[in-house]
């Protein structure tokens, strides 16, 4: 049998196929992460020569800092609401646009296009919408509503939910569409023959087949929402006041203009931890569900 030496030599060759990518990835992502970890235990200001160690001080401070609390609150609210709303609408649109109405392709394309636009641009466009366009529309229609959603701390979250959903619903919708289209029609046939109603068919057949898509969408939307930054930069800049400061925005501000890079790094580490935990919990819970279904 030639196999043993065949395999060992080639094992090495396979490994070399992995290595270049791994090296670049390590240098570009992992090393900075380790560096940030180190800085998180210091009180470095980001530019001076000395980097004084201060142990767990930053982490302790983080627990009591009201700005951190508010930023997390905003970010988490944004992520949760987004996940629910975006998923729901993506699914609803996917179902509607997989049915009997005409011109499905066109609708799908229109809903999808906004995700091709960079978040910086989306933020800017919606800033204009809320400051100028929507108020003008409201005026001309005689509605009394103030649609200046970015102008007050109570409504700024809704403003961003709308902007972000506008941008991404089409994307997740296409994932659901693909999942829906992969359901073999025989299953529906068989159910119909057995006398099942449309609603029952939906819950017993469609929903289980959507499970993997569901996992992807939930994890994707929640992780993406927790990382929101570009959208804020070009629109409210975290305001009014601090009402729309997300955790990454806070990190950037603290580390740079606040000249507290050590503290900012500690905040980053916490964010990364939260992202990992959130994703892993969701993946394992949803995967388990998938298998059951």
């Amino acid at each position: 049998m030639r196999k043993p030496s065949f395999e060992r030599g080639s094992r090495l060759q396979y490994a070399t196929l992995v290595l270049p990518g791994m090296l670049i990835f390590t240098v570009g992502i992992i090393v900075p992460m380790v560096l940030s970890l180190r800085y998180s235990f210091t009180s470095w200001n980001g530019f001076s020569r000395d980097i004084p160690w201060n142990g767990l001080e930053n982490y302790k401070r983080m627990l009591e800092d009201p700005y951190v609390r508010d930023a997390w609150r905003f970010t988490i609210e944004f992520a949760i609401l987004n996940t629910i709303i975006q998923n729901l609408f993506a699914l609803v649109f996917a179902v509607v646009l997989d049915g009997s109405i005409k011109g499905k392709r066109i609708y799908r394309t229109i809903l999808f296009l906004p995700c091709l636009i960079s978040s910086i641009v989306v933020g800017f466009i919606w800033l204009r919408m809320y400051s100028n366009v929507l108020p003008a529309i409201a005026e001309s229609l005689g509605l009394g509503l103030s649609l200046r959603l970015f102008g007050s701390p109570g409504t700024v979250l809704s403003g961003f939910l709308i902007a972000n959903n506008w941008q991404w619903i089409g994307y997740w919708m296409l994932i659901y569409v693909a999942a829906l289209q992969s359901v073999p029609p025989e299953l529906y046939e068989a159910a119909r023959v057995d006398g099942a109603s449309k609603v029952r068919q939906f819950f017993k057949i469609t929903v289980p087949m959507l499970a993997p898509a569901f996992t992807i969408c939930i994890v994707g939307i929640s992780v993406g929402s927790l990382k929101v930054y570009d959208l804020l930069v070009s629109s409210t800049g975290g305001g009014p006041g601090r009402a729309s400061t997300s955790i990454i925005y806070l990190i950037y501000n603290t580390a740079i203009s606040g000249r507290q890079y050590g503290y900012g790094s500690a905040l980053s580490m916490t964010l990364i931890l939260v992202l990992l935990v959130v994703a892993m919990i969701q993946i394992s819970a949803l995967r388990r569900r998938e298998i059951q279904l």
Binding site: F6, R11, Q13, Y14, A15, L17, V18, P20, G21, M22, I24, F25, V27, G28, I29, P32, M33, L35, S36, F93, V96, G99, S100, I101, I110, P114, L116, I117, S118, S119, I120, V121, F124, W126, R128, M129, V133, A136, S140, L174, A178, A179, E189, R192, A211, I216, K227, Y229, D230, V233, I248, I251, L267, S268, L271, I272, L275, L276, A279, E290
Partner: protein, 287 residues
Amino acid sequence: MRKRTTNAVKDGPRYTVGTFVLQVAMTLIATVVSLPVLITLNYSFKSRKELYLGSPLALPQSPSWDNYASAFSRLSMGTTFLNTLLYTVISVAIMALLSGAAAWAIARNKGRFFKFSYVYFIVGILIPYQALFLSIYIIGFTLHLTNTVYGVILMYIATGMSFGVFIMTSFMGTVPIELEESARMDGCSVYRTYWSIVMPLLKPAFATLVIMQAFQVWNDYLMASLYVSSAKLKTLTVAMQTLFSQQATDYSTAMAAIVIAVIPIAVLFGALQKYFIKGMTVGAVKG
């Protein structure tokens, strides 16, 4: 080939009253969704004065291409467009190659190293590079990578690897292992097998990955602003943010700039829809 029954309950959808209602609803929704884009287009043809003296809903009084001309020069379109194109094309091409190779090697081997590599790459998807930006910058300048073409390309490769490996491993099932085995038995090295046998079969996978990653890189802001800030290396998105913040008083130019920037992506997407959608749906389909 599934036989279609003539009974119109499931296939051959019936156009009912309910359907009509949905049709109207969707048309309304589509209009509302297009509104921001249409408004942007509208603004792009208006003069600066019309912005604050007229209503945002009014059509331009004397539509002109002035804003586009000024956007072109403010964004140094020639330079920034080419820069963005260069970084995108090269970083995505190399990233695709490297993740394809890594994913294949991982898929074909059971050893601990390969299992570890898979997890190592995948975990990277969750790490937001925005949170690490200053460290990323420090690494960059220590290695003399900042404000260089190859530096930013390297960083885009680094941040794309996780996603690349994830997508490529999902596609590995489409490569029949028998072909590889016969090639190996004929004496081909691992590399040769990959290059001549596996890669051609992975063309759709590569196309998918390239499309999905290309538009991430094209629209990227933070990495580009960190690594290539000098005027001659700037990217389109960074130039646009400068335009937005700097020319806050002149957003008519900004509007034209947005239209200019979005068009290439929209065109690319239109041409390569198929692969894009395929990439998005990988893993969404059971089995």
